[in-house]
């Protein structure tokens, strides 16, 4: 079972702690720009704060364009073999998400390796905006949100042991689609 990074953009505050802990883990330096995760911020139309992470694709475009087969997918992680890499940076351009990075001082592209299954960004995000989830669970929260968005929720009040409580329930079959 492979696990993937999932991002909840609505939770991201743009503090960039993920960038910093990534640079410390992989390069041993304090440099948010030497990182395999970068937070993209747009403002004010629209207001977006979103960490851009590698999806560890099963058919990785980066692997396809690499002229020297330096990128390969093993155990759910697309990893870069720096012994083979010729630093052409075609992979950086080929990634549809822009999730591989270049830095002036780095010889090789900066590519997420999921920190051997225990990603620093996930551990240190103060908002819980980056999570490591099994592949089968991807999209679960969206499915739930989607259903809730068109389900007519009703609320009833009732008394239990003298205490007034409320209960929400869905009127199934009466959705306004």
């Amino acid at each position: 079972m492979s696990r993937k990074l999932a991002v909840i953009p609505a939770e991201c505050s743009g503090c960039k702690m993920c960038e910093l802990v990534c640079s410390i883990k992989h390069f041993g330096v304090n440099n948010p720009k030497k990182s395999a995760i970068r937070v993209l911020i747009t403002y004010p139309h629209p207001v977006v704060r979103m960490p851009i992470v590698c999806s560890q694709c099963k058919k990785p475009p980066c692997e396809e364009v690499c002229p020297v087969d330096a990128l390969s997918r093993q155990n759910g992680v697309v990893s870069l073999d720096t012994n083979l890499c010729i630093s052409c940076f075609h992979c950086v351009e080929s990634c549809p998400f822009g999730a591989i990075y270049a830095h002036d001082e780095c010889e090789y592209p900066i590519k997420c390796d999921l920190c051997d299954g225990d990603p620093e960004c996930v551990k240190h995000c103060p908002k819980g905006a980056i999570r490591l989830v099994p592949e089968y669970a991807l999209g679960e929260s969206k499915r739930l949100n989607n259903v809730l968005s068109y389900t007519q929720m009703k609320e009833i009040e009732f008394v239990e042991k003298g205490e007034t409580k409320t209960l929400q329930y869905a009127e199934i079959g009466k959705e306004q689609l």
Binding site: E11, N30, L40, V47, R49, D104
Partner: protein
């Protein structure tokens, strides 16, 4: 060398008149004794003042503007996104500084410079672009009249990258409004002491930085371990979640319940409509996202959207407590969407929310009392809760139209024009007072009076502690607390980190001696660091004395001692003048200053 990390040991000096750009090496003595941020700025401003025989026009080309992050800025330290702007203030004519959060300071450090010092004035509206070690002055006259937000957008487009930071001024800065601010990350402002007017006087529309360098940290692993302990403490704090959700907006309810919320230009200190402008209302109807400064788990900034009504479509980051109180209750504004619109307009025009709220509040009261006439107001009346007139007056201030031309020059000019306004305006040294009433806590009065930049809470914020614990405090205890704050709080500005984890979540200040030691490789205790901070306090005081400040400059606004609070738990209270004067004398004595508040002239030799 004692100091092994923490600095690039380079300062960047730019002269906009000659176009000269120089990188200078920083001495061990300079970085050891002045640390960074406000410390670097104060020292450089002092040297410049001395070179000009202590005569400087704050809006003349000779005024040196220093932009300085600290050695911890951008490091793996909680809330390390701070950067200071330091110069002689056009609002007070004395020492001035203001700090900014976000990511500007981090990026400036990553260019490989420990500070940036700007002298002279460009012939045409220009932008200073620092791209790692390369600096250039680019003429961009077409930015004239653009808002702060537009400027940031246009520059990013022109330079073809979003991976850089911009600190820009708006129309108010261009027009040298003496409380104009510098804006970065769209909504973060170095608001106080008129730094934006200084940039305007230099024809400098924006400073743009793009830096990619590793920050020099001596012991990365040690620092990471210490920071993880600190972040763990913060995230487990009982109020941590509240800070993430409401940020500083949670203070509105607190201030109202304790009777310190500025209301109707501080006539009252509780606001009947407080629940219409508080954190709960914001959460329920307006907030659409969190925003944090670099490396800050608290993310105290809120992004708000007005969804309907006459301000529909307004997106703004903020307000925080000061802005909400000064543009809300202080002006009697009873609707949160109007506060958001005013906050957004301040960001666009580039004016300080505190000074703007304070001055407009005083104008409304002055008009109410007949001190300012309808003719003075160009025939446009203004009243409490009149959001249309308030927003219109902001425009006139920034554009210097009609009465706006006088108001734009701040408190000192307003009092010259209408001497009776001295009884209405709340200001010290010409800087308008922050959003905490000092009639309640005498220590807060002393804090405002003795702050080197004027009536601002940045140097000492003692009011909450005095309200909670201070009923039986002696004058000496209050003086001690103010002095301790005046050492600790500026230390944060020297290190380049935010003070909120300490003041709001109680993160032990001992962590900071460790952060400093891990970053620089030089072991220092908190006490030793505070001594350096005190040294800078003496420097800014000597600087103010040289510029003509005396004990009189440490007096409180008329209202604080003469006009009793009208409502709430503190109704009828004023600050006792005799008690205050005694405290002030004791304060001077404890600091080793003379009766006029001057440190001995001999200390100048040590600057």
């Amino acid at each position: 060398m004692n100091i092994k990390g923490g600095y690039f040991r380079k300062g960047l000096h730019v002269n906009l008149t000659t176009g000269g750009i120089e990188r200078c090496d920083l001495s061990e003595d300079f970085i050891e004794r002045y640390i960074g941020g406000r410390g670097f700025g104060a020292k450089l401003v002092w040297d410049n003042l001395k070179a000009h025989d202590f005569h400087i026009d704050p809006l003349g080309p000779e005024n040196l503007l220093v932009v300085a992050p600290g050695p911890l800025t951008g490091c793996y330290v909680p809330s390390s996104g701070k950067n200071s702007f330091i110069a002689i203030s056009p609002a007070t004519g004395l020492y001035g500084d203001s700090s900014i959060g976000g990511g500007f300071g981090v990026e400036l450090r990553q260019t490989g410079h420990d500070y940036l010092a700007i002298a002279g004035a460009a012939a045409e509206l220009s932008v200073l672009f620092i791209d790692n070690e390369h600096a250039s002055i680019i003429r961009m006259p077409y930015l004239k009249g653009k808002t702060c937000l537009e400027t940031e957008g246009i520059i990013k487009e022109k330079l073809g990258s979003h991976d850089l930071h911009v600190a820009a001024i708006g129309i108010a800065g261009e027009n040298r409004v003496r409380f104009a601010c510098v804006n970065s990350d769209w909504s973060r402002n170095a608001g106080r002491t008129g730094i934006g007017a200084i940039m305007g006087s230099k024809n400098l529309k924006a400073i743009v930085v793009r830096g990619t360098k590793d920050l020099p940290v001596h012991d990365v692993a040690g620092l990471a371990e210490e920071t993880r302990k600190a972040v763990k403490y913060m995230t487990e704090h009982k109020y941590f979640r509240l800070w993430q959700q409401q940020g500083l907006m949670n203070v509105i309810e607190y201030a109202n319940s304790k009777g310190i919320l500025p209301t109707y230009n501080f006539k009252a200190t509780t606001f009947a409509a407080h629940d219409k402008i508080n954190g709960e209302t914001m959460l329920e109807h307006y907030k659409i996202g969190d925003s944090a400064c670099f490396m800050c788990p608290m993310c105290c900034s809120n992004i708000c959207l007005v969804k309907n009504g006459k301000y529909a479509g307004t997106v703004t980051e903020g307000p925080e407590y000061e802005s909400c109180a000064m543009l809300g209750s202080n002006l009697g504004v009873e609707r949160f969407d109007a506060v958001l619109a005013a906050n957004k307009l301040c960001d666009e025009l580039g004016i300080d929310t505190i000074s703007t709220g304070s001055i407009i509040g005083a104008v409304i009261e002055g008009y109410e009392k007949g001190v300012i006439s309808l003719a003075d107001l160009d025939g446009k009346g203004i009243a409490w809760n009149d959001d249309d007139a308030i927003l219109d007056l902001m425009h006139r201030i920034a554009h210097r139209e009609g009465i706006g031309d006088i108001l734009a020059d701040g408190s000192r000019r307003i009092i010259q024009q209408w001497p009776e306004m001295e009884k209405i305006l709340l200001q010290v040294k010409g800087l308008e007072q922050s959003a905490y009433d000092s009639r309640v806590g005498t220590s807060m009065g002393l804090a405002y009076a003795t702050s080197d930049i004027g009536a601002h809470h940045a140097r000492a914020w003692t009011i909450a502690k005095e309200i909670e614990e201070g009923a039986t405090w002696s004058a000496e205890q209050k003086v001690d607390l103010v002095m301790y704050h005046q050492a600790v709080r500026p230390l944060f500005d020297m290190l380049g980190v935010c003070r909120l984890p300490w003041i709001e979540l109680g993160l032990n200040e001992r962590h900071y001696e460790k952060f400093y030691s891990y970053v620089t490789g030089k072991t220092m205790t908190l006490e030793e660091l505070l001594k350096l901070s005190d040294h800078v306090y003496n420097l800014t005081r000597r600087l103010n004395i040289r510029l003509g400040a005396t004990r009189k400059a440490d007096s409180l606004p008329y209202k604080v001692t003469k006009a009793p609070v009208l409502t709430g738990p503190n109704a009828g209270k004023t600050l006792n003048e005799d008690e205050f004067e005694k405290m002030l004398s004791l304060y001077y004595e404890k600091r080793g200053w003379d009766k006029d508040g001057a440190p001995p002239i001999e200390v100048e030799a040590s600057f």
